[in-house]
Symmetry: C2
Subunit: 133 residues, 2 copies
Amino acid sequence: METSQEFTQAREFSYDVFARACPSRGTLEHVTGRWGGLTLCALHERTLRFNELRRRVDGVSEKMLSQTLHALERDGLVHREAQPTNPPRVDYELTPLGHDVAERLMSLVCLVEGRMDEVLAARERYDAVRGAR
Amino acid sequence: METSQEFTQAREFSYDVFARACPSRGTLEHVTGRWGGLTLCALHERTLRFNELRRRVDGVSEKMLSQTLHALERDGLVHREAQPTNPPRVDYELTPLGHDVAERLMSLVCLVEGRMDEVLAARERYDAVRGAR
DNA sequence: CAGCATCCAGCTTGATACTG
DNA sequence: CAGTATCAAGCTGGATGCTG
């Protein structure tokens, strides 16, 4: 097959991320998804309760936060600590793996944020050419 | 305001990623989106033509690849080099900024891939508890 | 080969209401 | 407080057909 010959030596992954069925794609989507990344970054700062998280991650709905947290917990990135008090108190904190993931994620976020001026400049150039037509 | 007092000193971003209106959220979504990440990783290996990319990124449709490339080009991460030949030949390659972003992204991908065993184990534990009910 | 335009099914999301 | 359940709406994305 052409494809595999073409790329075999360039590949650096144990699985093939590029393959549709790669198991890591799912986790990657949880991590980089709309709310997953922000949630991990928020929890990287410190442990938070449900509604604290909700306020921290601006724009997330109750439902989506709940869903996101379940996915991250299932993947072993977030630990849920519930206290059977009344009113209930539930703390969410990152696992060691979660912190490792969050660090790489933040490195990416910081890079992008730090170079938004380049991005914005590129956009203006792109739009200037496109907008003319 | 409680929220800002609570987090001001913990924040490490120049913009506030957590804010709904943060300009970097858009770029971040392009980078980490379903196809953006894979496209960047593929182009990090080497320059590719449109249909090479399409074969490399398993599962992407023509439309989505086109859309993804436009977004990345607009953000200044990808450079599009069109040769006015017949049949047309268009090469896509990363800009310096694109390579920087791709590197951080790959670091994240590699981490997740390398520790999928932990993730999978966590899932089994989670499902064992949940599935019982 | 390298795309764009259109259509539409279905998944994701947000709003709302309710529970323990 | 910490969620779950339900439902409508809108956006995403795949299929198809066409252009240069």
